[in-house]
């Protein structure tokens, strides 16, 4: 019965194609990135020499950076599904459907959207494999090593579906679907800690797998790495929202235009939500400056005797991780913003009636995301530079190009998120047109 109802509800609604296309594109991007990184990682895990551990650890970090935003993407996609079917789900409740039935239908839709996106992601991964295969590690192109066995690809597809279902159910805790409509549940705390748990879980699972295959020493090193990485994530998650609140508070006081006032107040309304969208960038940005300066300096000082490619490889890995992380944030921002617009569709329609130009609403929305993103990316980079100042100071003197490259990659990442945000403008225009 639930399947039949879900199929009936899958007919086109009034919110436009973007609300379906965005999560599909987002899941496709995530899956393609996930498969590509796992593809590269399988090559690293085949190595057994002294330097292999560095490559393997880097691969695990990259995987964690991908899996964490995947969960928030799933939650956002389910919120979007609930919003897109707003009136229909409310009618179902009126007709006597239980909250469980409605939750299952919404989660089911999220899983289908995730799977459609994931299958697209496999196609993107296969199409990009020849280009990715050209990336050199240890002086040799990865080549066909990035191609995964079909069973692993299927396992990733299954994993994406399971994660989408789990995060959909978690995400729906923030939404009330009642006979009177769909609205946000204001008092439910956002499950930030879930991200850290997932991050640590992934690393622990990796350790277990490594333990089973006999690489005990590496498992210990990875555990230390996991604790350090998870701990940093936890600290950033605690401090980040607080910093955003302080900055937004000052911006709200000084705001001289409607868009600046709206953006600052939106961030102040929930600094945690603002942080949730861009927090992933903090760790990446921190790592990029830290590793980037170290590698740049080491390269200038001379090659590693045993592995002349090591430093260059680490820099390649850092750049790939930064770009992938920003891509994930861009996807997450796109889906979150589409859901947020639908959450407030009545308000946007009323503002359009008052004569507020869509451009003003768009600029306000853009600032709401981009301002915390800039603060997070630049702030984390500056903190990293200060923390390892002797290192960054020396890098500025002896290998400035290395820092310039990291700055350029961070700027490109910020531009990527801007594009993700821009993709949701049709959703806003449609909401405003419903005036």
């Amino acid at each position: 019965m639930i399947l039949r109802i879900a199929w009936m509800l899958a007919r086109p609604g009034t919110t436009g194609a973007a609300t379906v296309a965005l999560p599909i594109v987002a899941f496709a991007t995530v899956t393609a990135l996930l498969l590509t990184v796992i593809g590269g990682a399988q090559e690293f895990f085949a190595w057994s020499d002294g330097d292999a551990i560095i490559y393997q650890a880097a691969a695990v970090i990259a995987l964690v950076l991908l899996v964490v935003p995947l969960t928030s993407l799933g939650a956002a996609a389910s919120r979007l599904s609930a919003r897109r079917r707003d009136d229909r789900l409310a009618t179902l409740r009126l007709l006597g459907a239980s909250p469980l039935t409605v939750t299952v239908i919404t989660a089911l839709e999220s899983v289908v959207v995730a799977l459609v996106g994931a299958v697209g992601g496999v196609a993107v991964y296969l199409a990009a494999a020849p280009a990715v295969g050209l990336i050199p590690f240890r002086g040799e192109a990865l080549g066909t090593a990035v191609l995964l066995p079909p069973l692993v690809v299927l396992a990733v597809l299954g994993g994406v579906a399971v994660l989408a279902a789990a995060s959909a159910v978690l995400g729906l805790r923030r939404v009330i679907i009642s006979p009177l409509g769909v609205r946000m549940r204001e008092d439910t705390p956002r499950p930030h800690w879930v991200r850290v748990v997932v991050a640590i879980g992934v690393i622990v699972a990796t350790n277990v797998v490594m333990g089973i295959i006999g690489a005990f020493q590496m498992a210990v090193i990875l555990t230390v790495l996991a604790v350090g990485f998870g701990g940093s994530l936890l600290v950033l998650n605690l401090v980040g929202p607080w910093v955003l609140r302080i900055i937004a508070g000052r911006q709200a006081k000084r705001a001289a235009t409607p868009e600046r006032l709206l953006a600052a107040r939106s961030i102040l309304e929930s600094p945690k939500a603002a942080w949730a969208q861009v927090g992933g960038v903090a760790m990446t940005s921190f790592m990029a400056v830290f590793a980037g300066s170290a590698v740049g300096l080491l390269e200038v000082m001379g090659e590693d005797g045993e592995n002349p490619f090591l430093y260059g490889d680490i820099r390649t890995g850092v750049i790939i991780t930064v770009v992938a992380s920003f891509l994930m944030v861009a996807c997450s921002v796109g889906v979150n913003q589409a859901a947020a617009i639908l959450d407030r569709a009545d308000l946007y329609a009323s503002l359009a009636k008052l004569g507020m130009p869509v451009g003003t609403m768009e600029r306000a929305r853009r600032r709401t995301v981009m301002s915390p993103l800039r603060t997070t990316a630049i702030g984390s980079a500056v903190i990293a530079a200060v923390v390892v100042f002797p290192l960054t100071g020396a890098t500025i003197l002896f290998a400035p190009l290395s820092l310039v490259m990291i700055a350029l990659v961070l700027a490109a990442g910020i531009a990527l998120v801007w594009l993700g945000l821009r993709a949701t403008r049709p959703v806003l225009e449609r909401a405003a047109q419903l005036a």
Binding site: P258, L262, R265, D346, L347, S350, K353, L354, G355
Partner: protein
């Protein structure tokens, strides 16, 4: 001699197979309070939207007696109509539809800031209007910290702060209990027609309509009668 501030003629509007307006004519006199009544689906909200330049009619025209001369709203593009709504018209909706993350004074000031006024000047004007509507001391409260009646007064202040000459209200008391609704209607009338402005109200409520100077009834997209209150 007619002093129509809004004049509509031959208005038609359909949404798919549904006809909302079917060749409707209406003149709204300057300084009057006009109630538009009718059953659900009779076309009254569509009429309000067309009069205010929110929706373009399929046929017909609406002209507005602006201070600089007659202006045909139906001949304006979307951007010009938006500007007209920002600068010459004010709106009060059933559920206020205020921005929840802004304070009361910011919600009101925002309307003036959208016309290009500075924030300081906008907040000064907003504070004056909030005080006029009995909300002095509540300027920094957020919308969630106000009662339904207080929030609706903030919405009225927002509609008036730009110096709007015509205020459009869509079921302004529909979400309030009768006592609060009566008070809100008092405030709305005093701050609009009481100060020479024009008020157009869409309502189901005969009590609200009875307090307006004129009531028109709609059925199937046309006016079926009109009467002037005693």
């Amino acid at each position: 001699m007619s002093h129509a501030i809004l004049h509509a003629s031959g208005l038609s509007k359909s949404f798919g197979a549904t006809t909302a307006l079917a060749g409707l004519d209406l003149a709204v006199e300057e300084g009057e309070s006009l109630a538009i009544m009718g059953a659900s689906g009779s076309g009254k909200t569509t009429l309000l939207h067309v009069l205010a330049g929110i929706t373009a009619p399929d046929t017909g025209r609406v002209s507005f007696a602006s201070p600089s001369g007659p202006l045909e709203i139906t001949g304006l593009g979307e951007q010009e109509r938006s500007r007209l709504r920002r600068e010459a018209f004010g709106f009060v909706f059933q559920s206020g539809l205020l921005i929840p993350e802004l304070t009361a004074i910011e919600n009101v000031a925002l309307a003036l800031m959208l016309t290009g006024a500075s924030r300081a000047e906008s907040e000064r004007e907003a504070a004056t209007w909030l005080a006029t509507l009995g909300l002095a001391g509540m300027e920094t409260r957020r919308i969630g910290q106000l009662s339904g009646g207080q929030a609706q007064r903030v919405a009225i202040a927002r509609a008036l702060v730009t110096g709007a000459r015509v205020i459009f209200a869509d079921e302004p008391t529909g979400a309030l209990d009768s006592h609060t609704g009566h008070d809100v209607m008092d405030a709305l009338l005093a701050s609009t027609v009481g100060q020479g402005r024009t008020l157009v109200v869409v309502t189901h409520d005969a009590e609200v309509a009875s307090r307006c100077s004129r009531t028109v009834h709609m059925r199937d997209g046309v006016l079926v009668d009109g009467k002037v209150a005693a």
